[in-house]
């Protein structure tokens, strides 16, 4: 019989203290400061609408995917995500070791696909971009990962999953990489007749 088990003692552990992040590692490439570009908002409105963007702020499953030169796809569950103010750029946090292949692919070709899915509602969105950059995670990223873990634990807790599941799936002990990309395509991914529909304005 498959049962979801007893709740382990103790609260969800925050991971801020343990958040180890890569810094000064040459393999990550040049450290690019995150600066706002001067924008012509009217001409370059984000393909991601405000309503859609709201999904990214909720405790959703985030999974990033990439392809290598042999057209082999790779994917990994992310530790969290954030959106720039103008909704044009998305940053996903990936666990360094287990997302190693994804990170290699992104450094090689920059092409990324990310799906966001809310466990309790199945509302889902897929974003794509072709300029993904792999960056070192900073303190804010570590804090974001910790917060995401807490909120995600509650979200899937409503579906009957024990805290151990989120703690394991979103383990950040091996370090975090931040991957930032410009949103170029937006797709509806919620199961149903509209699944696969392209939503961005371009």
């Amino acid at each position: 019989m498959l049962d979801l088990g007893e709740a382990p003692p103790g609260a969800v552990r925050g991971s801020l203290a343990r958040c180890s992040r890569e810094s000064g590692d040459a393999t990550l490439g040049a450290v690019a400061p995150y600066t706002s570009q001067p924008m012509n908002d009217d001409l370059h409105a984000s393909p991601l609408g405000a309503d859609q963007a709201a999904l990214l702020t909720r405790p959703v499953s985030v999974i990033a995917a990439s392809c290598d030169a042999q057209l082999h796809p790779h994917l990994m569950r992310a530790l969290g995500c954030r959106l720039s103010q103008d909704r044009r750029q998305v940053t996903v946090l990936l666990p360094l070791q287990r997302a190693a292949q994804v990170l290699d692919d992104l450094r090689a070709n920059g092409r990324i696909a990310v799906v966001f899915s809310e466990p309790t509602t199945n509302l889902s969105l897929q974003l794509k971009g072709d300029d993904a950059q792999v960056l070192p995670a900073d303190d804010a990223d570590c804090a974001l990962a910790a917060t995401h873990l807490e909120r995600f634990t509650v979200e899937i807790g409503e579906l009957g999953f024990q805290p151990l599941v989120a703690q394991t799936v979103l383990d950040a002990e091996d370090g975090i990489a931040a991957v930032r990309f410009t949103v170029s395509e937006v797709y509806e991914q919620t199961p149903g007749t509209r699944a696969g529909a392209r939503l961005d304005r371009s």
Binding site: M1, L2, E6, C67, R98, L164, V165, G196
Partner: protein
């Protein structure tokens, strides 16, 4: 440190739809695509099947470039596994398709997606590699019975059965004793009528003997028609088999349906066909109020057990059909006289006649205006009652029934013994003032406590 290679067999708990899988594919132009997968179905140690529901980018990609990578998560402890796979083909009918369709209906209901999730095909993928990506932190001790040991004991108990009734009892007893089944029933196939009929059950108020299901109807009917085990882990309206009256049922059938026993809203259902020599002989069914009650190990064990039972069933039917010269068996005669008096015989004889009506059209039998049974079982009962009314006979043999022209067995394989078993139970279910009582091998007694008033309605 590279993870040790695993096989799918070790991670089947991740393949129950409890945590959705995720999957990446790659277009020919190198653009990645990622999606959530509601169902990753275990096919065998080297293959999985995904549900093809919508015409999607994923499908478009794999038809051109078969490579796909999946991540699945263990629902208890969150360990994560990576599957490197290759798309092979799509099956839109057959055993795998039917299994997935039923399971998907359960998943859909569970996720509030009933009516949205619809299986168009089963996409079969070869699994080239399974890797552990995140190890479990606190692996909970695996509780519950070892299903392989349970199967061993069950198989030995069932193998010891020497006749049909013994086989049926041993099978259902083993299901309860070794696998903890709360509710279970055994149905056999009437191939001519394309219907399954209940012979016995456990865990319900009435045995439900005689209750029927059409081939293809619900979990049981689908398992029989597709000759595959079907397991659903959630309550779902689509495959609720416990429906008694369907809309538009023909007028002549009203009042002639025996209600199926069953939970109103089973959380879990497992239907396993009894198949032998390329023929489905029946279905063994278990259900529970709990969701996720049965896992892959349960399904494997019960499928193996049902397969053995089918072989025995087949052998018994073959033996029963042979005319045997049975020497007078003193032991059997002793059985007949020492057989405990049945409930009906124990009652004081009543004078009021028992009205029995028989309809030639479908061999249905009504006792005191209550519908009792029809078909072969009805024909058997009518013959017994007529013989008793004419000559006072109470002792009968299976062999003479088989030779009797009034009982038209549909085909050589069909099981007279099974009809006797179901008739025996049906009489108990209805608390009828008639009983059949086994008195020896291939012999039984008709117990009647009241004089009979028989009437026959010709075609």
């Amino acid at each position: 440190m590279p993870a040790a290679p695993l096989r799918l067999d070790s991670i089947r708990a991740c393949l129950e739809g409890a945590v959705p899988g995720v999957m990446a594919t790659c277009a020919l132009d190198g653009t990645p695509n990622v999606t959530i997968i509601s169902q990753v179905e275990y096919v065998d140690a080297d293959h999985v099947a995904l549900s093809f529901q919508f015409f999607s980018k994923t499908r478009h990609n794999v038809l051109a470039n078969p490579m796909a990578e999946l991540l699945v998560v263990h629902p208890q402890h969150g360990a994560m596994y990576r599957l490197r796979t290759r798309y092979l083909r799509t099956e839109s009918e057959g055993a795998l398709f039917e299994r997935m369709k039923a399971k998907l209906a359960g998943i859909a209901s569970h996720e509030g997606m009933a009516g949205v999730f619809r299986l168009r095909g089963a996409d079969v993928y070869a699994v080239d590699r399974v890797e552990q990506v995140v190890a479990p932190r606190n692996e909970p001790a695996i509780g519950g019975a070892n299903r392989l040991s349970a199967l061993r004991r069950a198989a030995q108990a069932v193998a010891a059965a020497g006749d049909l009734e013994g086989l049926i009892e041993a099978l259902l007893d083993a299901l309860v004793r070794e696998f903890g089944a709360e509710h279970a029933l055994l149905m056999l196939l009437d191939a001519g009528a394309q219907r399954l009929y209940t012979v016995a059950s456990r865990g319900y108020e009435r045995s439900g003997a005689g209750a029927e299901v059409a081939l293809g109807d619900g979990v049981i009917g689908t398992a029989a028609r597709a000759a595959t085990s079907i397991r659903i882990n959630h309550a779902t309206l689509e495959y609720r088999y416990a429906r008694t009256m369907r809309e538009g049922v023909a007028a002549d059938l009203i009042g002639r349906e025996i209600p199926l026993p069953g939970l109103v809203d089973p959380g879990s259902q497992l239907a396993v066909p009894l198949a032998c020599g390329g023929r489905v002989l029946g279905v063994l069914y278990a259900e529970s109020a709990l969701e996720f009650r049965f896992d892959w190990d349960d399904e494997d064990a019960l499928t193996a057990l049902a397969t053995q039972a089918a072989a025995q069933l087949n052998a018994l039917a073959g033996v029963a059909a042979q005319p045997i010269d049975e020497p007078a068996d003193p032991a059997a005669m002793a059985d007949a006289s020492a057989a405990e008096t049945c409930a009906v015989c124990a009652e004081p004889a009543a004078a009021e006649p028992l009205r029995v009506r028989h309809f030639a059209a479908d061999d249905s039998v009504f006792v005191d205006d209550d519908y009792l049974i029809k078909g072969v079982a009805g024909a058997v009962l009518w013959k017994l009652l007529r013989d008793h009314a004419e000559s006072g006979r109470t002792e009968f043999s299976n062999r003479e029934l088989r030779l009797s022209p009034e009982i038209r067995l549909p085909e050589v394989g069909d099981n007279l013994e099974a009809r006797l078993v179901l008739l025996t139970r049906r009489l108990v279910d209805r608390d009828a003032p008639l009983r059949l009582q086994k008195t020896g091998r291939g012999r039984f007694r008709l117990c009647v406590a009241r004089p009979l008033a028989l009437s026959h309605v010709p075609r």
